[in-house]
């Protein structure tokens, strides 16, 4: 989880946080702070799908999963656990 949080923070910092004076907390809303918009969310979704090999369903593109560094990290961890469990079951 810590590793995921680090990767997500790095991705967001590199791609969206152009203003270095902004300090983004792990719980801060990416939308409310103006860090990300709809274009950014699509980029984030593509990054997560490519990096972690998981499929994000349209219904899952919601703030509860993707609107803060913590939410994103937790969501990815859960998806990966589910993926591992599914593989084991098969």
């Amino acid at each position: 989880m810590e590793q995921i949080r680090k990767q997500i923070t790095e991705f967001i910092t590199t791609n969206f946080l152009f203003d270095e004076s902004i300090t983004l907390g792990v719980e801060d809303s990416l939308l409310d702070t103006g860090v990300i918009d709809s274009t950014g969310v699509l980029e984030l979704v593509a990054f997560i799908e490519e990096t972690y090999g998981i499929k994000i369903e349209d219904e899952e593109i919601v703030p509860e999963n993707l609107d803060s560094i913590n939410n994103i990290s937790l969501y990815i961890s859960q998806k990966l656990s589910q993926l591992t469990a599914d593989k084991a079951a098969n």
Binding site: G34, L42, P63
Partner: protein, 530 residues
């Protein structure tokens, strides 16, 4: 010209929309935003309080008051309060940088700025004192910014005339006075402040209510920013009829928007082409179809949307939901034409016919009305057309030459009187000996089903003037350049076949959601060919 049917003859100023609905539907929910559900009477009372505050600060008729906020209840209160006080509401783009904000404040000679706490940093780094700004009103928790007044304090409590309804300066205001200034990005010469009178906005609002058959039962999901003329038009039309606006600033998470549309039994949804491209590509719209029982119509404006997306939208939306294609400009207070939904299947590519109160023609190079099928510039006149741009007499003369508003769009009219826009004059690309409209090629590209979005650009070329290139968001990660180029070769004449395609995860957009062609060109240059 079809005449406008006013909803109420006594309404001739923009804030009368709010005052009338507060009188007829005092307890009705006017705005839903998150957990907040605010009635017309409360919005009107708070707008009265804020207007009194303006007057106690010496605001005079015609003074410009700038607004820098995301869509919210306070935005709506501010917008109408400014006009109640006889001042001019200037909604600013929430994406402004310090230079842009300084430009606007200077151009407007504004002394008052109302803003949300999200913009604290922008305000403090913009050195606005130097531009004569003397009064800041801020929405949000206590701030470290210096001399700032709390929005809540000045809108929740009256600063005089307690117990009496605020008396707008009606006797001093006429419908030809300025109501609002909206900045529009010009292709040359910096942003232009489009000046709109009360009459411009009131007439256009009545006209839209008329052709969309809006009533107090209508509930609009608003994802477009109020600072954008289309967003502002959604607000005014629904306030004019006593309807409800559901504000949702989370369109980045479309599933959330759809969920709220279902829960609030929304009757109308409006967007620009990218709104619908996004909804169709990454949202559970198709899966939600059976739950959108109340959705009476969707409207699309803000530029040309490809036929492929329109057809897809028709397939995905519930069959009872009408699709209304609309066309307009900030200079027209929003709207100029619409395609009645009954014509959607037959004339999908058309922008329809002039709305009530508007005269629309295609003008040829000789300044005469073009004949059927002949391409020329689309020009309009009517009581909704702006009196001009702020501090830009040259641009005003050009835009309003000969008593017509020149849209800058190339169009033709068919034998049944429907207008078709073929492209923007500014976007025409000179390729070899041809002048090409990227729109036509983009439409063909979208028919391939290979893309979520695609834009055709002109890269400067020593021999051709421009060479055509594509910047596209593929619908599938396995899409290859060869696949795209062979599709083009099979569908387009040789001189219209782009020479190269590059893929991006997204196309750069303006905050209104419109494609940013300059941004696309810069991104193309940075993107590696697949």
């Amino acid at each position: 010209m079809i005449p406008i049917k006013p909803i109420d003859l006594s309404v001739d100023l923009v804030h009368h929309f709010l005052e009338r609905s507060a009188r007829f539907y005092p307890d009705k929910v006017a705005i839903v935003h998150g957990k907040a559900r605010v009635a017309y009477s409360e919005i009107n009372t708070r707008a009265d309080n804020l207007a009194r505050h303006f007057l106690s600060h010496g605001v005079q008729k015609g003074d410009r008051i700038a607004l820098l906020m995301e869509n919210c209840v306070e935005y709506v209160i501010s917008y109408y309060a400014i006009m109640k006080a006889g001042a001019v509401a200037v909604p600013l783009n929430s994406d402004l940088k310090p230079e842009g904000l300084r430009y606007a404040i200077n151009d407007l000679e504004a002394k008052i700025l109302i803003f949300g706490s999200r913009f604290d940093k922008l305000i403090s780094s913009s050195d606005l004192d130097a531009f004569g700004l003397t009064h800041l009103i801020r929405k949000g928790p206590l701030s470290s910014l210096g001399d700032v007044v709390s929005f809540d304090a000045v809108s929740r409590f009256s600063s005089g005339n307690d117990g009496h309804e605020f008396s707008t300066l009606n006797h001093e205001l006429s419908d030809s006075d300025l109501a609002s200034i909206i900045y529009t990005s010009g292709s040359t010469g910096g942003p232009k402040g489009v000046m709109l009178t009360h009459r411009n906005i009131v007439d256009n609002t009545f006209s839209i209510c008329q052709y969309l058959h809006l009533t107090e039962k209508d509930i609009q999901m608003c994802v477009l920013p109020f600072f954008y003329v289309m967003g502002k038009s959604l607000l005014n039309t629904h306030f004019a009829v006593g309807g409800t606006i559901v504000v949702n600033n989370q369109f980045a998470f479309p599933a959330t928007v759809l969920k709220e549309m279902i829960a609030e039994k929304v009757t109308g949804f409006s967007g620009v082409p990218s709104t619908f491209a996004y909804l169709l590509h990454r949202s559970p719209l198709a899966a939600s179809r059976d739950k959108l029982d109340s959705l009476r119509y969707v409207t699309q404006a803000g530029g040309h949307m490809s036929k492929a997306i329109k057809e897809q939208l028709r397939r995905v939306l519930p069959s009872h939901t009408e699709i209304v294609i609309m066309y307009g400009a900030t200079e027209a207070a929003a709207r100029l034409s619409y395609l009645e939904s009954s014509w959607f299947a037959d004339k999908m590519e058309s922008i329809g016919k002039a709305i009530p109160g508007v005269e629309l023609i295609v003008m040829n190079e000789q300044g005469k009305e073009a004949s059927t099928g002949e391409v020329g510039e689309l020009v309009a006149r009517g009581s909704n057309i702006m009196p001009g741009y702020l501090n830009k007499p040259e641009a005003t003369s050009k835009a309003l030459a000969g008593g017509w508003y020149h849209t800058g769009d190339q169009a033709y009219r068919d034998e049944e009187g429907f207008f078709f826009v073929v492209g923007r004059q500014d976007d025409l690309l000179k390729v070899g000996g041809h002048r090409l409209s990227p729109q036509e090629i983009e439409d063909t590209l979208m028919e391939s089903g290979l893309f979520v979005e695609a834009v055709v650009l002109g890269m400067p070329d020593e021999f051709l003037g421009n060479k055509l290139v594509i910047l596209a968001v593929p619908s599938n990660s396995s899409c290859t350049s060869n696949e795209v180029m062979s599709f083009c070769a099979g569908r387009l004449p040789k001189y219209k076949v782009p020479s190269e395609v590059r893929f991006a995860k997204n196309l750069p957009k303006k905050t209104s959601g419109k494609i940013d062609r300059k941004g696309c060109l810069a991104l193309f240059a940075k993107t590696v060919a697949p």
